[in-house]
């Protein structure tokens, strides 16, 4: 138990040393500040904008799909309510441009056939190894869940923390990942003079460590939106983030719509229960 006693000693020393320090935000690594964006799909009343999702899919297809898959999304999802709701024939046509491996057939052979609505959107690479070999060792991750799989860490002091938590709970903050991906897509910049950038890497303000192997995927006017929206980097980033957020949570609109009804129903029930409770207890006081 020597470790314990030395622990106690250290504890005493530490306690003396820090007892006067207030709780301050502190972390060894540099905490990267990510701005919160206004998303029209955020919060209690937020819903996906069908036009934005359509634009976002276009950005994904033109700017991301060469390297990143969205393999949890099926072509059928693109025509379902709550999503981009493309024209069904158009999506059938799009699916048919892909060759999907199927089989084995009656002769025991695998074969290729045109894609259908029931197929997944095929990933650009057969496997991680192929992707890495093409990209100089880097692996472009699948984007189906990217806005769910990233978050923004809040670095606050103990005393600010509860209020921050409360604010996010009441606001239903679920868009940390979206904020991060937006910050990443728009975060490319010239590296500071004293920053050592490795070969083939890009400087990015939002990426942890600031070195990212992905070249800037969006550039002004690189895409011509079908609906005529000016294709600024900011616009494209917002649209593709909205699309990816939908790809990670295709049931969001259904969930929030049902949630609204459930809350109304439960709220009314709680009121009735309260009334009943008051009446019953009136006799006991």
């Amino acid at each position: 138990m020597t470790t314990l006693t030395s622990g106690m000693k250290r504890l005493a020393v530490f306690a003396l040393a820090v007892v006067s320090t207030p709780f301050v935000a502190y972390a060894a690594g540099e905490a990267i500040h990510i701005d919160r964006q206004k998303w029209n799909f955020a919060g209690f009343s937020g819903r996906f904008d069908q036009n934005q999702l359509q634009r976002g899919f276009q950005v994904y297809k033109d700017a991301c799909a060469q390297c990143h898959g969205i393999s949890r999304v099926y072509f059928r999802n693109l025509v379902q309510p709550g999503g981009p709701v493309f024209n069904e024939d158009a999506v059938k046509g799009l699916a048919a441009t892909y060759q999907i491996q199927d089989g084995p057939n009656d002769d025991g052979k695998m074969f290729k056939r045109p894609g259908r609505l029931s197929d997944r959107v095929p990933p650009p690479y057969a496997n991680e190894q192929e992707a890495r070999s093409v990209h100089n060792g880097a692996y472009p991750p699948d984007l189906s869940l990217i806005t769910k799989a990233r978050g923004v860490e809040y670095q606050g002091s103990l005393f600010a923390h509860p209020f921050h938590i409360l604010k996010d709970m009441v606001g239903g903050y679920q868009e940390g990942g979206a904020d991060y991906v937006y910050a990443l897509l728009t975060g490319y910049a010239q590296a500071p003079a004293d920053f050592k950038l490795a070969d083939g890497m890009q400087y990015n303000k939002a990426f942890p460590g600031h070195q990212i192997s992905m070249p800037p995927p969006l550039s002004e006017g690189a895409i011509k939106y079908q609906d005529g929206t000016p294709a600024t980097v900011d616009q494209m980033a917002r649209d593709v983030v909205a699309f990816l957020h939908w790809a990670g949570d295709p049931k969001q609109d259904e969930r929030k719509r049902m949630g609204f009804l459930v809350l109304v129903y439960l709220g009314f029930t709680a009121l009735l229960l309260y009334g009943a409770k008051r009446r019953i207890w009136a006799k006991a006081h």
């Binding site: 306690a15 949570d249 969930r255």
Partner: protein
């Protein structure tokens, strides 16, 4: 209190027939209808019912999820995604189960804090309390096992870190810890085998919990409920029958709780989880911060506060085991902290310490965070081992009401229309 006679009167001939063979209706009536409950219970006492509700919700949603879930390393993550995307209302069931775990712990922490504040662990409720500690432990085990099942990065690394804790036993008997870890894993690394057995255990433990809950309620109904004054029920005026009084109050409490529950399920389902768990498990990539679910954070902070691995593990488990002994560590004759002017402040600071440990558990274990975690860990144990026994002897309790009825109704302790006392209905 269980000794009170059930006022059950079988109505039909079938009920008479049944009553002579298996008087289950008589028992249920005696325990859950005319069972005397203190008339001064506040809303903190509704959490027992709320916890039963949570357990039922977790079991029902869990059984449905298990119909669609595949417990293999290759398929687990994908099957959860299939549930979220393609199973009819799968997103709802999965959200209720995931949020439900958090709500369950939220409720149990309030329930435990209530017991601590009003001295519900003191004689004659020791066994009731110890069963509660056992339930808490079982809940933690179940929660931990359940969190591994989505097989995301936090699942995988959570299992790796927590199972590896047992290897600290190597410091006592060389090789023993490693042996236990291999045995837990079913191999030499966390793998599909581990996942499969964790799934099996995750399905088993809730039913063990349900069994212990029956004992917990049984013990409760033998000694009767504590109440905010900590006084015993002495006269009929001190109590009201469980139905409709306590039942109605429980239902309203539950109604509000379910509103909160629904808010998270529908509008912030991922808020209580961790983004890294949407990344499929990868044994080759360690997440930058491995953090357990929020409800384990205070204990995680205690684990990391001690600079030796074995010491940390011992401290973490002791932090729960010490609860078993508090019926005897607390030397005060007064149950409720309401009448303990000095102890009250120590207790509030204890609650603050646990919250602070929760905050620190979510921070990297370095620098000033460790020092503070050590400070609060020291207080955590000092509270139980020193403050409880010493303050209980030193302190002069403040003036207490003579009875439960007096505390609610004031003066004579008679209800408003005293001639028609409600408990005679």
């Amino acid at each position: 209190m269980a000794q009170h006679d059930s006022t059950y009167k079988p109505g039909s001939r079938l009920e008479h027939w049944m009553d002579e063979r298996l008087p289950i209706m008589r028992m249920m009536h005696g325990q859950f209808v005319d069972f005397p409950t203190p008339r001064n219970l506040n809303y903190l006492w509704t959490f027992g019912g709320i916890l039963s509700f949570c357990l039922a919700v977790q079991i029902v949603t869990g059984i449905v999820l298990a119909m669609h879930y595949i417990p293999t390393a290759d398929m687990a993550f994908d099957s959860v995604e299939r549930i979220r995307r393609d199973v009819n209302y799968g997103w709802l069931i999965r959200n209720v189960h995931a949020v439900g775990a958090s709500m369950f712990f939220f409720a149990v922490y309030i329930h435990i804090a209530r017991g601590l504040y009003y001295g519900s662990y003191k004689a004659p409720r020791e066994v009731l309390w110890i069963l509660g500690v056992l339930l808490f432990l079982l809940m933690m085990a179940t929660g931990f096992l359940g969190y591994t099942l989505p097989w995301g990065q936090m699942s995988f690394w959570g299992v790796t870190v927590i199972t590896n804790l047992f290897s600290s036993l190597d410091a006592i008997v060389p090789g023993l810890g490693t042996k236990i870890v291999t045995w837990l894993w079913g191999g030499f690394s966390v793998s599909s085998v581990t996942l499969n057995r964790f799934f099996s255990l995750h399905y088993l433990l809730p039913f063990v919990i349900a069994g212990v809950v029956v004992l917990h309620i049984w013990a409760l109904h033998v000694v009767g409920q504590n109440n905010p004054t900590g006084l015993d029920i002495k006269t009929k005026a001190d109590s009201v029958p469980m139905a409709p009084y306590a039942v109605m109050k429980d239902l309203f409490g539950l109604g509000v709780f379910v509103l909160l529950f629904a808010w998270f399920v529908f509008f912030a389902p991922d808020y209580l989880g961790h983004a890294d768990n949407y990344v499929p498990a990868n044994p080759l990539v360690t997440p930058p911060h491995i953090v357990p679910e929020w409800y384990f954070l205070p204990f995680y902070a205690i684990l990391r506060a001690i600079p030796s691995k074995l010491g940390g593990v011992v401290a973490m488990f002791s932090a729960i085991v010490v609860l078993v002994f508090i019926p005897w560590l607390d030397t005060s004759r007064v149950r409720s902290a309401r009448y303990r002017p000095l102890y009250k402040w120590f207790l509030w600071f204890f609650f603050f310490s646990v919250l602070a440990l929760g905050y620190l558990g979510g921070k990297p274990a370095e620098g000033v965070y460790v020092a503070w975690a050590q400070f609060f860990t020291a207080y955590y144990f000092a509270f139980f081992l020193l403050i409880m026994p010493i303050v209980g002897v030193m302190e002069t309790p403040s003036a207490m009401p003579r009875s439960i009825a007096e505390s609610v109704l004031g003066g004579s302790g008679q209800p408003a229309g005293a001639t028609s006392a409600p408990e005679k209905r």
